[in-house]
């Protein structure tokens, strides 16, 4: 029988490790998440059901060590030239179980891209922060603090705004950065994260990339305050809230790379963010496929399974087709992160524009797929017992984040059409 593993991927691109790691996560999903995920919605604030699953994934399986260099206790995937497609698989598997856990995991990995991925490994900062993740018996979370109360997607819109609207400031005071500002909505906030990557400016109002700064701030630094998690439509396993930075002081070396390079590698962060978003969506869609296949095989209409009705089969087909296309595109996007010499620099505008395009397509299709699956199932489609509606609620957030669809469109248009003022 055809299964989710039959959706096509470019097999030439896969990591030798991916079967093994993918398998572990599949098992974790089946045993530790899928049986419990219906409880997540009411558990959004306390995470009584979410935390044990997180612990298993992060600590027991050890995912929180994945990208750190071996020298500092990690798995060393940051140095692998298969990390892109491997992470695509990881996020797909986690997303299949719960896209909330997937985003929490990916966002933990997100700031580390700045310092733990070849060719730009910052050994000093790796030595500084790795122990927090690699010598821990508890799950550890990280997050990028980007969005601000005003400006919204303007922060992410580096191509046009160049950081002009960033109001979170970093001032050098001797050997320390002093950070002030207010961030909204980072994943893993509301008391979850242990380490922040803070997007800020060394000169407010400047659109010079040299003034863009990416500074690491441990969550327990004095002056960091996190709000209560927000209540939202879905994504219960991912907490979001406000963070205030009030005269927060960190060592000078906590700035990832410095003038120019912070902005440059931050584009790689966006590139990874887009690819990962697509992978979560592929996972959610594959799970929707499984559920729908079961539903339409077991439900009987005129003596035949519902799936044998050609009008139903047409809807089912479109869903399988979309997954097929999305999965291929996502792995291709991941591959470009692994083979910059063959494609483009991971931090190039081309890379950002193209991964945004893939993310936009996959996120839109994911909403369409889950939406159509729910419609096909009638009143059962909105019944929590079937989990399709959960994916539908969850994945809408993927479409909205990182500047949302409109920013994806502007980035794509800018690169492909040479637009200059978007």
């Amino acid at each position: 029988m055809t299964t989710i593993d039959d959706f096509t991927r470019p097999k030439e691109f896969l990591s030798p490790l991916e079967k093994y790691i993918g398998g572990m996560i599949r098992e974790w999903a089946e045993n530790d998440v899928i049986p419990y995920r219906r409880k997540f919605n009411e558990d959004w604030k306390d995470h009584n059901w979410v935390e044990p699953a997180m612990k298993k994934l992060y600590v027991d399986i050890g995912l929180q060590k994945a990208v750190w260099p071996k020298e500092v206790g990690g798995w060393g995937l940051g140095q692998s030239d298969h990390v892109g497609t491997l992470m695509a698989r990881v996020f797909e598997e986690v997303g299949r179980a719960d896209t909330g856990i997937a985003v929490a995991s990916a966002v933990t990995f997100w700031p580390l891209i700045m310092i733990a991925l070849k060719p730009h490994i910052n050994e000093e900062l790796c030595a500084e922060f790795a122990p927090m993740f690699c010598d821990a018996d508890e799950p550890r979370f990280a997050a990028n603090a980007m969005t601000e109360p005003q400006g919204g997607s303007d922060i992410e819109n580096m191509g046009n705004m160049g950081g002009k609207t960033i109001t979170t400031t970093a001032e050098l005071d001797g050997d320390e950065w002093v950070i002030n500002g207010h961030k909204l909505w980072p994943t893993n906030t509301g008391g979850v994260a242990d380490l922040f990557g803070v997007i800020c400016t060394t000169k407010q109002g400047s659109s010079d990339e040299d003034d863009f700064a990416f500074i690491f701030v441990p969550a327990d630094t004095e002056g960091v305050t996190q709000g209560e998690p927000y209540k939202k439509a879905g994504m219960a396993a991912d907490k979001n809230s406000d963070i205030w930075f009030e005269n927060v002081r960190v060592p000078k070396k906590y700035r990832a790379w410095g003038a120019g390079d912070d902005a440059k590698y931050f584009r790689e962060v966006i590139n990874w963010g887009s690819m990962s978003s697509a992978a979560f969506c592929v996972g959610a869609m594959m799970n929707t496929y499984e559920i729908l296949k079961e539903y339409c095989s077991n439900k009987i209409f005129r003596g035949k399974p519902l799936k044998e009705n050609t009008a139903v089969a047409a809807v089912l087909s479109d869903i399988a087709k979309d997954i097929e296309i999305c999965r291929i595109a996502t792995y291709q996007s991941a591959r470009t992160l692994d083979r910059p010499e063959l494609y483009w620099d991971k931090w190039s505008h081309e890379g950002v524009a193209k991964s945004r395009a893939v993310k936009m397509h996959v996120a839109d299709k994911c909403i369409e797929v889950t939406n159509n699956a729910a419609s096909l199932m009638g009143t059962y489609g909105c019944d929590r017992d079937w989990d399709v509606e959960k994916h539908w609620r969850d994945v809408k957030m993927i479409q909205l984040w990182m500047g949302g669809k409109q920013l994806c469109q502007m980035e794509t248009a800018r690169w492909f059409y040479g637009c200059e003022t978007l």
């Binding site: 439509a233 879905g234 994504m235 209409f301 009638g378 009143t379 909205l400 409109q406 469109q409």
Partner: protein
């Protein structure tokens, strides 16, 4: 200009009375619902929702609306009530689509027995007091045939749906049986069910529509299941084990298919109106967002890419509203457009309901895109509407709905 005036609709067809009722519902919404609705999802003990429904159903009196005057109702039981209903449900839906959906079920369930010209005197005499002589909330729950069945139970079929319940002749009574039936709404809170059954040994040997008080012996209502939205509407699967009701509760004078189409025509109208109210509320919210949010140094709404999305939102509302009001008019004038149970009217009402409910999901989804995290957070007051209209949309039955349309326009015989 008021939002309700911004969006075009054939206003010649609305009466002043309709606007008066709408105003009192608007007042109810502002006072009883809107301040609390962000907490509805966690209102497990019905402390917020219950009183709001009571005010609407009992104090404002919606639950009496469609009963004939002589049985204690408000006597709005001619098809002319359609525009009144639409305008009222726009206002209810704006505040809380869930409550609108409860009323939609309650209202349309009664059409086959209480709506002119087919007033079933016996049934009205028996059942009207339940709704009219009480200070308690009374809710109806329609149990329609389903599109396919997990258990393989198939007692009959109607318009490409499976009938799972049966109604057996039992002298003066009719005995209803059915396993794990899923109502359209309010299965966990109903006082009266309207059930489509395969008839056994009754005058009609096909499908019969039977009204069944929820306190009849042999009925088991499950715990309400958790669902995407419409939290005010406590829906649950229902089991009927040899439930006996008086013969006169069965709409034996009319064909089951006729009742089925009548219920669905009216329900389609109601569901569409609720979605329009919901969309209009979201329109107001996203409009405010477009004014106050700054993108690239100017208000969001002045960025043409965002303006195009805003336009899409508005256009969904405009188109949906015109369509819905036309269905209302068509139902109001059966002499011109055909009876609610005619194939043509049924098809038109279903087609518009499919269009409007899925437009609502799109429109509100688009608004969320512009509002980003604020659209996704409960405090933004949009995500609940999005979940609510989606829950309404799934109930319209996309594939069987398309088959209904094909059946009429192409004269298909086997779908």
């Amino acid at each position: 200009m008021e939002t309700t005036d911004m969006f075009p609709y054939p206003k010649e067809w609305m009466s002043e009375d309709d606007e008066i009722l709408a105003s009192s519902i608007r007042e109810w919404a502002e006072k009883e619902v809107i301040p609390n609705r962000q907490e509805f999802d966690e209102d497990h003990n019905n402390e917020l929702i219950g009183p709001a429904i009571r005010k609407l159903f009992v104090d404002i009196g919606l639950q009496k609306l469609m009963w004939p005057e002589k049985y204690g109702g408000a006597g709005l039981n001619s098809p002319y009530v359609s525009t009144t209903i639409v305008r009222a449900l726009e206002e209810v839906g704006r505040a809380d689509p869930g409550i609108g959906f409860i009323f939609s079920g309650t209202f349309s369930l009664l059409a086959p027995i209480a709506m002119e010209p087919n007033i079933n005197e016996d049934a009205c005499t028996e059942l009207a007091p339940m709704f009219c002589n009480t200070k308690d909330v009374r809710i109806g729950s329609p149990i329609l045939p389903e599109y396919g069945d997990v258990d393989g139970i198939n007692a009959g079929s109607i318009y490409g749906r499976v009938i799972k319940a049966t109604a057996k002749n039992d002298g003066d009574s009719v005995t209803i049986s059915g396993r794990k039936l899923r109502p359209l709404s309010s299965g966990g809170a109903a006082n009266l069910f309207g059930v489509f059954c395969a008839a056994k040994g009754l005058e009609r040997d096909d499908i019969v529509y039977v009204l069944v008080p929820a306190d009849s012996e042999g009925i088991r209502m499950e715990e309400p299941y958790k669902k995407t939205g419409l939290v005010s509407d406590r829906n649950a699967d229902v089991w009927f084990e040899n439930v006996r009701v008086p013969r006169k509760y069965a709409a034996l004078q009319r064909g089951g298919a006729e009742c089925f189409k009548e219920v669905l025509s009216w329900h389609g109208l109601c569901a569409s109106a609720v979605c329009i109210g919901s969309m209009m509320d979201v329109y107001e919210i996203v409009k405010e967002w477009g004014n106050t949010r700054t993108i690239s140094g100017k208000p969001l709404k002045e960025n043409s890419v965002d303006a195009a999305v805003l336009a899409e939102v508005a256009n969904h509302v405009a188109v949906s509203r015109i369509l819905t009001w036309n269905v209302a008019r068509m139902l109001a004038k059966p002499d011109v457009y055909g009876e609610a149970w005619s194939d043509k009217m049924f098809t038109t009402a279903r087609a518009v309901a499919l269009h409007v409910t899925s437009s609502a999901v799109s429109a509100i989804g688009k608004a969320m895109e512009l509002m980003a995290s604020q659209g996704y957070a409960t405090e933004g007051d949009v995500e609940k509407h999005w979940r609510d209209v989606k829950t309404i949309e799934v109930c319209t039955g996309k594939v069987p709905g398309m088959m209904d349309i094909a059946r009429w326009y192409y004269d298909c015989k086997t779908l």
